[in-house]
């Protein structure tokens, strides 16, 4: 695996590829012949009209610009709360919530396996007081919340906490806006989350959606996620195909619970903005088109809303490099531009220092400014779908549609997306994709500027150096110890008499196949922790308490689940 630098003559500047990032071969140019087979009404349509290839609304960004969001998540509730306040003061109301990694895996900070990654990646939001502290003073009814967690238990539990906090404060649940990723395929495929087995993931996903549709109509309870599979090795075709397959499966499962697509409303996908500029734009146009068709043709959607797909973006963290980090500014700018040209609804762009550490505030402001420059100086969003009608873009949209369709057929023929996950086939596909990229980079068929090509000899310059010098702090041992002590004190100080029957109801609901979401909200109000929530649900479904099989069932939980 010798890393020989690509011999690219900088002046001659010839290209090394003839295909898109996902391998679609391209001609040097396209003309009217290439899009002869397309009909404007059926395949393209005006913005705001079926199949929404050109965008969801006739006025598009003139009416409302895309939402700008960030994952805001620091080691403590206080820091995170302060950051939220800063963002809101700057007009950013789309708040993406995360928590630390042990919590996402479904264990409490006092679990022996939590220690090594405690408070990394976010707050250890183990129970309701932490949420109350984190959200204190924020305009809950006005902000938009997004849950980007890894484990499926997180969506059930943290949505539960959010609802609990709002109810405790007497805020109308109708005003709760935002979404949960809640994608049971991504959770296992990419993260191998231990909290629940897949069978249980699939059910919990539906419990959350069902409850949300009936009680918080402005909450989008699922957003099939292509970002993480894509970072794991899936290409644009399989990323989109995967999301469509998940959405299709979930709508089918919901129908079995008596929920029709028109009750469900608009779908949301969380997609990746990758480096390949046109392919990324095309992916967004196609996503809307394909979902609209599936919603109408397969699920008989009648309302416009139910045919609409909203796209939330996370730009590719993987495309960023720690070598010559200044180059990341160009990468992210192009990725943001592709999102705007592709008509997305919300955008969480990576920061240029992300390949080095946790993003700094300055890098995030730069990020926002890039979006302002694209909007107000470059005037890009003035006209909807400015690339619509381009021979190349329309051809590529249609070409990719063929590929996505055949991928969907393959999934279907293998028994659907869950069967594909459980047989390991999806994982094989992702792994093959990852290896292909790895090989292309090694063979210099995929150039990464500053990494396998265009490297400079000698010391790096002061600007790059400065970016590299940004250091994050990982939580100290003392902070971790304090956290363990805090959780233990919290657990000991709860009113167990009040809590026990509420937790028993979570256990029973799981066991008796009733919806678990409301019981989780009630028990969370009384202090049930994330680890306990995961534990009792596991036991209700016939598994052991601890997902990592390291600790015994706590004594008081053993009492609770006694019949």
């Amino acid at each position: 695996m010798a890393n020989i630098e690509a011999k690219v003559d900088r002046k001659a500047g010839h290209m090394v590829r003839t295909a898109t990032q996902s391998g679609l071969e391209l001609k040097p140019f396209y003309n009217a012949e290439d899009i002869n087979h397309l009909s404007y009404e059926k395949d393209i349509g005006d913005p705001g009209a079926f199949p929404f290839t050109r965008g969801l609304y006739p006025e598009m960004y003139r009416d409302r610009l895309w939402l700008k969001s960030f994952i805001v998540s620091y080691a403590t509730a206080e820091e995170t709360n302060q950051a939220f306040r800063n963002y809101i003061a700057n007009g950013l109301t789309d708040l993406r919530l995360l928590c630390d990694l042990p919590t996402q895996a479904g264990i409490d900070p006092d679990h022996p396996s939590a220690w090594n990654s405690m408070m990394c990646g976010g707050v250890a939001t183990y129970a309701i007081p932490v949420y109350e502290k984190m959200l204190e003073g924020l305009p809950l009814g006005e902000a938009i919340f997004e849950f980007a967690h890894a484990g499926m238990s997180s969506f059930l539990y943290f949505y539960g906490l959010l609802v609990a906090v709002m109810e405790n404060k007497g805020i109308d649940l109708q005003t709760l806006r935002g979404n949960s990723i809640n994608d049971p395929i991504r959770t296992k495929l990419v993260y191998g989350c231990p909290d629940f087995p897949t069978k249980l993931d699939r059910r919990i996903c539906l419990d959350h959606i069902e409850y949300s549709i009936r009680n918080t109509p402005n909450w989008r309870p699922i957003a099939p996620n292509g970002v993480d599979p894509c970072q794991g090795g899936m290409d644009a075709i399989k990323e989109l195909g995967g999301c469509l397959a998940v959405a299709t499966q979930v709508m089918t499962d919901l129908a079995a619970r008596g929920i029709a697509i028109d009750d469900f409303g608009a779908m949301v996908f969380a997609l990746d903005a990758e480096s390949d500029f046109f392919e990324t734009i095309v992916k967004f146009r196609l996503a809307r088109k394909m979902w609209a068709k599936i919603a109408r043709e397969k699920f008989g959607a009648k309302t416009k809303r139910a045919m609409q797909l909203k796209i939330g973006i996370r730009t590719s963290g993987l495309s960023l490099t720690s070598q010559k980090p200044l180059n990341n500014a160009a990468r992210v700018t192009l990725q943001i531009l592709s999102c705007v040209l592709g008509g997305v609804n919300s955008l969480d762009a990576s920061s240029i220092d992300e390949a080095i550490g946790l993003p700094s505030l300055e890098a995030r402001i730069f990020n926002l400014d890039t979006q302002h420059i694209i909007t107000h100086e470059a005037n890009v969003p003035l006209v909807a779908d400015p690339l619509g009608g381009s021979y190349y873009v329309e051809w590529l949209t249609s070409r990719m549609e063929q590929e996505v369709n055949s991928y969907l057929q393959e999934i279907e023929s293998r028994g659907g997306i869950f069967a594909c996950l459980e047989t390991g086939w999806l994982n094989e596909v992702m792994e093959a994709g990852r290896l292909k990229v790895q090989r292309e980079k090694a063979e210099n068929k995929r150039l990464i500027v500053g990494v396998n090509s265009f490297r400079e000899e000698g010391e790096e310059g002061p600007i790059n150096k400065a970016i590299r010098d940004i250091a994050y702090k990982s939580p100290s041992l003392a902070a971790r110890e304090a956290m363990v002590a805090e959780v233990k004190a919290f657990k000991a100080g709860r009113d167990k008499k009040r809590l026990a029957p509420l937790m028993k109801e979570v256990y029973r609901a799981t066991k008796e196949n009733r919806n678990t979401q409301r019981p989780v909200i009630e028990a969370a109000k009384a202090g049930m922790t994330i680890g306990e929530c995961v534990g009792v649900i596991r036991m209700g479904a016939g598994y052991n308490y601890d997902p990592l099989k390291e600790i015994e069932t706590p004594e008081f939980v053993r009492e609770i689940v006694k019949e």
Binding site: M1, A2, N3, D100, L101, P102, Q104, A105, I107, P112, S113, A114, W115, N116, S117, C120, G121, A150, V190, Y191, G192, C193, P194, Q231, G232, L318, T321, S322, Q323, A355, I356, G357, E431, R434, L435, Q438, A442, V451, A471, Y472, K473, S474, L477, L548, E550
Partner: protein, 132 residues
């Protein structure tokens, strides 16, 4: 008849770090370089990693972590190895690291300490050096 010693590497992840791509990339790269690569999987304990390393009689442990906790993890794994009477097992680390982390790790005897984007040949050469 194989008479050549194969380098055996244990790629280990401790705690709840979900980022696996780096570990997987190492796994296949090591195989393609003629090494025998064993992966512990995610969500491991330090004790489990130490036991696995001893059981597998590996030549080197490669710790991968992207949460910024490599010093804490390395220290815990070293302590568990010591309990098993192993004090000479080479450990290398890679993932999210600050300059300060690197210093701390080196003091413990953990080498490599590679940040993201380190060229594979650098890592491979280092492993071949510490493995024999």
């Amino acid at each position: 008849m194989p008479k050549e010693k194969k380098i055996r590497v244990l790629i280990a992840k401790v705690g709840c770090d979900i980022h696996e791509r780096g570990a997987l990339t190492l796994l296949t790269t090591f195989r393609d370089e003629g090494m025998e690569a064993i992966y512990t999987g995610r969500y491991q304990t330090p004790k489990g990693v130490a036991n696995a390393a001893v059981s597998e009689d590996v030549d080197v442990i490669a710790l991968s972590d992207h949460t910024g906790s490599l010093p804490i993890i390395a220290e815990a794994v070293l302590a568990e190895l010591k309990k098993l009477g192993v004090t000479d097992m080479p450990i290398i680390a890679g993932g999210l690291l600050t300059q300060e982390d690197v210093k701390v790790l080196e003091r413990m005897g953990v080498t490599g300490n590679y940040g993201p984007g380190t060229p594979m040949d650098v890592i491979l050469t280092h492993i071949r050096n510490v493995a024999c």
